[in-house]
């Protein structure tokens, strides 16, 4: 059994709340943290007023009217504890987090360094005090005994080697952290850990199962739980600097290739692959452009280089990226999300179908750019073109929108929807353009449509004679159906009117009339 040191930070949820950036509670104010209307932690000031753990909110407020309340937030507790854990790790290596506010470390190394277990613990406690943290330390053979020692310490409590059982024996049975078992044992007349420990291990196992046996071993000072040091989070960030700064995307892509390979290899050596990548491009002036890229499977070096290139090409096109006007000085690659490599390993007998798909699509994407390969989904909106959502392959699609959109086109849906509306002319029998009358009806009966010759894909065979517009008689029509969008905004509000039209050649269209201009929205045939 390896002797261990437990560090306990009393009232950690309160400390975490005070340390968190969003807290606005002054130091020394009475604070209580509630879960389901019951106090789970309170500050010293509140305790002095008589607030206790397990009290109901009403009772706590009755004892201390100026009590400040906060909801329990385990993620805040953990978040605030991580920097503390990092600090402890700098002082003494080999740390295991038990829960926020409680951690255990091997005492052997620090004891050798500081010349004894107690001096080592005292040094740690003093150093953490200087950081403004209140902490108690307990040293014992087992983790359980060390934790109980820490909870009873003024600053450091040392249980000598081999004395765990004697130290634990007089402590109340409730400490075994199994409420049902503790109640049962009290019912059997067993009130201390020592009395529980005196029961035969075999009988306890027989009666209470493996969990009971574990509690029994804890009470007897024979903590079987092994120490598992926290693995320091490895830093996989890779960086490359260019001197002088590079101006061309191709140069940067070439320059980043070696770094990308190193980046992927370093991850691979720890058994990881990168599925989400942050690319930061910095110019000489400092901040540049950064964004996070996702990959449908996992990044390889070529995919990383592609992302750097795309980001640069996109960034240079945008006038906003003034920072990169003088070129790129630094490229930083950070894995935002990683996965175990075993889940992404190619199979023994060639790759699976999906991996081939990812590979081929990534190749096409490398040829055409990120927006060259897209996956479709149906989005929200009233206009057909708005409802077509195209997401570059590999990125997360937008969340589906199934809200009702009044004014949207009912089925059947047109098989062609033009991303950009194509202008068209609609005339009545006398050749006058059809407009919208005051009352919201069509002024004049739509009789002819004239399709511009170069309208993409408008001719039935795609062979409309160049330079000559095509005129067709309308055989059936209906409308207008008004589309009013963003009516609440005086600057953004739009109004259009939709018509359905069938022409003499069997062409069926949905047309929009907006500010006296006709355009083709979609085509059915």
């Amino acid at each position: 059994m390896e002797r261990c040191l437990v560090l306990w930070f009393p009232d950690w949820p309160i400390v975490a709340l005070q340390r968190s950036p969003e807290s606005r509670h002054p130091a020394g104010a009475p604070l209580a943290i509630l879960a389901q209307n019951v106090v789970v932690a309170c500050s010293d000031a509140a305790r002095r007023e008589g607030v206790r753990r397990g009290m109901r909110r009403r009772d706590a407020q009755a004892r201390c009217p100026e009590l400040r309340l906060a909801a329990e937030d385990p993620s805040r507790d953990a978040r605030e504890f991580l920097p503390v854990a990092d600090r402890i790790e700098q002082l003494a290596p080999g740390l295991q987090l038990l829960r926020p506010g409680l951690c255990v470390l091997r005492i052997r190394g620090p004891a050798r360094y500081y010349g004894g277990e107690r001096p080592a613990a005292l040094a740690l406690v003093r150093l953490l005090h200087e950081e403004g943290l209140e902490v108690r330390a307990g040293i014992a053979d087992g983790r359980f005994a060390a934790e109980q020692a820490a909870r009873r310490a003024e600053d450091v409590l040392l249980v000598p080697e081999g004395d765990d059982a004697a130290f634990l024996a007089p402590l109340p049975i409730a400490l075994i952290e199994d409420e049902r078992l503790a109640t049962l044992l009290i019912g059997l007349g067993i009130r201390t850990l020592g009395e529980f420990a005196r029961l035969g291990a075999h009988d306890v196992h027989h009666r209470f199962g493996p969990d009971g046996a574990l509690r029994h071993a804890l009470a007897a000072g024979l903590d079987p739980r092994r120490f598992a040091a926290r693995e320091a989070a490895p830093d996989h960030t890779a960086e490359v600097a260019f001197e002088p700064p590079l101006a061309l995307a191709d140069q940067v892509a070439f320059g980043v290739r070696m770094t990308a390979e190193r980046f992927i290899d370093a991850l691979a050596r720890t058994g990881l692959v990168c599925t989400e990548l942050r690319v930061e491009l910095d110019g000489p002036a400092g901040d540049g452009i950064e964004r996070v890229w996702t990959h449908p499977a996992a990044f390889d070096a070529a995919a990383v280089v592609d992302r750097v290139r795309w980001q640069l090409e996109g960034g240079l096109a945008a006038a906003a990226a003034a920072a990169l006007r003088e070129g790129v000085e630094r490229v930083r690659l950070t894995p935002e999300a990683v996965a175990s490599r075993s889940a992404h390993e190619p199979g023994l007998f060639g790759r699976g179908a999906d991996e081939r798909l990812v590979h081929a699509l990534s190749r096409v994407q490398a040829m055409l750019g990120p927006a060259g390969v897209v996956t479709p989904s149906v989005g929200g909106g009233r206009r057909l073109a708005e409802r077509q959502r195209l997401t570059p392959w590999g990125e997360r699609p937008p969340r589906p929108d199934d809200r009702p959109w009044p004014g949207r086109l009912p089925p059947p849906y047109p098989a062609s929807v033009y991303p950009e509306p194509i202008p068209i002319e609609v005339h009545d029998a006398h050749g006058a353009p059809v407009r919208l009358a005051e009352r919201g009806t069509a002024q004049g009966e739509p009789t002819w449509i004239t399709i511009a010759a170069d309208g993409s894909g408008t001719g039935r065979d795609g062979r409309a004679a160049p330079g000559r517009a095509e005129r067709r008689r309308i055989t059936a029509w209906a409308g207008p159906w008004p589309l009013v969008e963003r009516g609440w905004s005086p600057t953004e509000r739009r109004r259009a009117d939709r018509f359905q039209i069938v022409d003499e050649t069997g062409g069926a269209w949905t047309l929009l009339l907006e500010r006296d201009e006709w355009s083709i929205e979609g085509r059915y045939d």
Binding site: R356, H359, V374, P376, R387, P412, E445, Q500, Y524
Partner: protein, 245 residues
């Protein structure tokens, strides 16, 4: 070869058809085995196609009808195949979904530009059905290379336009629309005549199908026919083998 056969005065039409069928069978045996698997096609069109569906490893030449593309992609996609649509930026996503295409197995390359053939070749390796609008004319050699890849990967290629060595050409005539009046109503459905010309086959086979479904029905003609209008359905199967022209 064709013109030589036609030039023989003694050959009757029946004999010619029989001989062509034999040649086709022999060619197919040497090429892709006697029975290459067939992907499902909508009921109204399936009867017109040799083998009753889209034969894997082959190319089909289509006209510019977009509902025809969605209808032909729908059945293989619903059966689990991945589909790719190249060079058609205006493909209607909602219509595609309503016809039964699984959008999460659909990949679009809306604007491949000059590299349309390379993109088609890359995607033909990995998806079940590739729908392609060529960005230019294709040379016979390039088409042959792509054809070899299609056979190897058992991919179906649907081309909007002419294509050398296409198994069959499928055309959708101008639809007749119902539901829309003069100033009132709402488009309900479009019925069209589908004509299939099989390579070296005896003229076109035609069938009348509902190409654009009514009231949210998928644009799969067979489905729409079966559920919507039994009369049209019978007509479609009845005319299945009638050779016109």
């Amino acid at each position: 070869m064709r013109s030589a056969a036609l030039a023989r005065p003694a050959a009757t039409a029946d004999e010619l058809a029989r001989l062509r069928e034999r040649i086709e069978r022999i060619e197919r045996t040497s090429r892709i085995g006697s029975e290459a698997p067939v992907l499902p096609a909508p009921a109204g069109i399936a009867g017109l196609l040799p083998g009753g569906g889209l034969r894997t490893g082959t190319a089909y030449s289509l006209d510019r009808s977009m509902p025809l593309i969605t209808a032909l992609l729908a059945a293989p996609s619903a059966a689990g195949a991945w589909c790719a649509v190249i060079g058609m930026p205006e493909l209607g996503i909602e219509a595609a979904e309503a016809s039964g295409i699984a959008l999460d197995r659909l990949v679009l390359v809306p604007r491949p530009g000059e590299r349309w053939l390379g993109v088609a070749a890359a995607l033909a390796e990995v998806v079940g059905v590739v729908a392609l609008r060529p960005g230019g004319t294709v040379r016979d050699g390039e088409a042959a290379r792509l054809a070899a890849r299609l056979r190897e990967r058992e991919t179906v290629l649907l081309v909007q336009g002419r294509w050398p060595g296409a198994e069959a050409s499928i055309r959708a005539g101008a639809p007749d629309w119902t539901g829309l009046g003069e100033g009132h109503g709402c488009l309900d459905r479009g019925e069209a005549t589908i004509a299939v010309d099989v390579r070296r086959g005896p003229g076109s086979r035609r069938a009348r199908v509902v190409l654009v479904g009514s009231s949210g029905l998928p644009a799969v003609p067979g489905d729409a026919v079966g559920r919507g209008d039994a009369g049209t359905g019978h007509e479609a199967t009845g005319r299945r083998l009638r050779a016109v022209g």
